[in-house]
Amino acid sequence: MKPCILLVDDEPRIIAALRIRLEEAGFEVRAASNGEQGLELAQQHRPAAMVLDLRMPGLTGFEVCEALQQDEALRRMPVIVLSANGDENTRRRAFDAGASDFLPKPYNSLDVLASLRAVLGVEARSRLAS
């Protein structure tokens, strides 16, 4: 079974582009267009990792991170934050909220894939290889 990645971004074109990349790299992809839906899908599907936008209508990425930290089952799920605001302050806040990695937009897709491989456990990586 392929490792599942949950994409959470309110910009459908970014979701679509990331989906192409991640599926090509051997991941199963699920997507949510806002934070609330993201949390719901995370609880439902227990993805291997989440790729999360920060600025979204409704729950922000920071709030999603914090909610995940409160959830015993999801606390250990790696979260890679992708944000169009890459200043130090935003980075720090994201890490404080529990992000595993932070990549600024415009992102380099190789970086996203490298980051995912780095944060995923050995077991998920082996499933990816096969």
Binding site: R13, I14, A17, R21, A84, D87, N89, K105, P106
Partner: protein, 530 residues
């Protein structure tokens, strides 16, 4: 307002149920008018046997002394005292036939300016006059004091309001810049991502021609990304909202992180990039993000003038003065003396940021200059027509002396007959107490230094201030800022920069208070000023 007339006692109101006493007191007053009013006419005396009547007849033109008897049929003098005080026409004094400490204490609690015994009034009229004179003088001072206090209160309120408004404006400006950043970067991400998805053949086979065209799109998108960054940086520089996150950092990591961005641009121009960190390059103390930006801007600029097939070299080395220099060496056409001068003139001008940017040397270099300066460094240029150019910038080594030095030099161009720097130096192994003071003076004779040094903790304050109220406000902010950022892990270095601001005259008291604040990590003590 402070003329001699305002110091005069115009009226004396006597209140006593005993007519004999009233006449006696009145006569005593006639003996000493020049003591009560040393340089003016004698005060007019009004006598009342009934305090109610006195109360209704209190004059309101000029200072009025009220002398009230303690025991009267219309009520105890202590009951009437606060009423006379409340009327606010002048000082009120209590008279009794026999002295008692208890009554005296009660009188003062009720607001009496003084307390006197009738026998003494009769036996020593000069002393009586002197007491009245003193009471009037004190009353005047109290009035002025109250006025000043209320003025100060009002000014503090106004200042707080203005400050609040400024904070709001600054936040709005921040939000605007962030919004613009977001709105530009999202479509840029989409352009870049879809072009590279197609280019990599993920959507089907790509012809050689299509690949070339897609590379053009990608390079243009990347150029656009730099332009957005430049725009954002220049906006932040304009609204002076550039936050510096300084810490000890490895030079190689800055070059590594910049290299990737530089390579994308270099590849599109068919320029190769070589990087090298020479031996013995120390760690620096800087905002790594800003340093990276300076390097990227210099490199992108150099790539624009590099002919295809040439190599761009990026090298870091230690300067003789101990700082680190990063050089960007191109094999472009180079610049003659005239062109060099023009470029330097242009990027020394802060206005270039706000003015038009042209292709080539524009916004990028101007931003690089300003960001380098914020990192206590400066840009350099060595070039010769036909032999390429070397643009360079310096960064301070992670050494307290270099940092303080860099800091002072960074605030010097701000037109310092007076600028104030608050620098905290915790006792580091590199410093001898006392050595610091003389060293600071030698580093920057142009700065009027107030150095407060605690031998144990080595807290150094450099302070030159203008308006005290304004300074207090700024110092509070600095102290609050410090207190807020305290929970971050301590820097491995000894120097911490608190704040800087322009100013004019030095006020040692504020420097001392600031020191105390920093010691206690609180700004509570600041309220005691003024």
């Amino acid at each position: 307002m402070h003329g001699e007339n305002s110091q005069l006692v115009r009226w004396i109101v006597l209140v006593d149920d005993d007519d004999l006493h009233l006449r006696l007191l009145s006569r005593q007053l006639q003996l000493v008018p020049e003591i009560i009013n040393p340089r003016g006419p004698a005060p007019k005396v009004m006598s009342f046997s009934d305090p109610r009547e006195a109360m209704e007849s209190l004059p309101s033109d000029g200072l009025c002394l009220v002398l009230c008897d303690y025991e009267m049929p219309a009520g105890n003098g202590l009951e009437w005292l606060p009423k006379f005080v409340h009327a606010g026409v002048g000082p009120v004094m209590l008279m009794t036939s026999q002295g008692s400490e208890q009554i005296a204490a009660k009188a003062f609690r009720a607001g009496a300016a003084d307390y006197m015994i009738k026998d003494e009034i009769v036996s020593d009229p000069a002393r009586f006059g002197q007491m009245l004179h003193e009471a009037a003088r004190r009353y005047r001072l109290e009035v002025i004091n109250r006025q000043l206090k209320s003025q100060l209160k009002q000014m503090t309120r106004d200042l707080a309001q203005r400050n609040h408004r400024l904070v709001e404006l600054s936040e709005t400006a921040h939000r605007f810049v962030d919004d613009v950043a977001h709105d530009f970067r999202t479509p840029l991400t989409i352009v870049q991502e879809y072009a590279s998805i197609i280019d990599e053949g993920l959507q089907g086979p790509v012809t050689e021609e299509q690949h070339r065209d897609l590379q053009v799109i990608l390079a243009a998108a990347s150029e656009m990304t730099y332009m957005v960054e430049d725009f954002l940086d220049s906006s932040r520089l304009r609204i002076q909202s550039v936050r510096m996150d300084r810490c000890a950092v490895d030079v190689a990591s800055i070059i590594d992180s910049a290299e990737e961005m530089i390579r994308v641009q270099a590849q599109s121009q068919n320029v190769s990039v070589q990087t090298k960190v020479h031996e013995h390059v120390p760690n620096i103390y800087a905002d790594a993000g800003k340093a990276r930006r300076v390097l990227v801007n210099l490199a992108v600029n150099a790539i624009k003038v590099s002919p295809a097939g040439t190599t761009l070299r990026i090298e870091a080395h230690k300067r003789p003065d101990g700082d680190v220099e990063i050089e960007v060496i191109d094999q472009g056409p180079g610049l003659d003396a005239d062109q060099q001068k023009r470029i330097f003139n242009r990027f020394e001008q802060v206005d270039v940021v706000t003015a038009h940017s042209s292709k080539g040397v524009g916004l990028g270099l101007s931003i690089a200059t300003q960001l380098a300066r914020l990192n206590f460094g400066r840009l350099g240029l060595q070039s010769e027509s036909g032999r390429g150019s070397t643009f360079s910038f310096t960064l301070p080594a992670n050494d307290p002396k270099r940092i303080v030095c860099g800091y002072l030099h960074s605030i010097l161009p701000m037109g310092l007959e007076g600028a104030a720097a608050a620098i905290r130096i915790t006792a580091g192994k590199n410093w001898e107490p006392g050595e610091l003071r003389s060293w600071l003076a030698s580093v920057s004779p142009a700065v009027d230094l107030i150095v407060e040094q605690d031998a144990a903790r080595s807290v150094i304050m450099l302070g030159i201030w203008a308006e005290p109220a304004e300074r207090v406000n700024q110092i509070q902010q600095a102290a609050a800022h410090r207190a807020k950022h305290r929970r971050r892990p301590a820097d491995p270095i000894d120097v911490e920069l608190i704040d800087q601001w322009p100013g004019q005259a030095a006020i040692a008291k504020l420097a001392r208070v600031l020191c105390e604040c920093l010691e206690r990590n609180t700004c509570e003590t600041m309220h005691s000023i003024g």
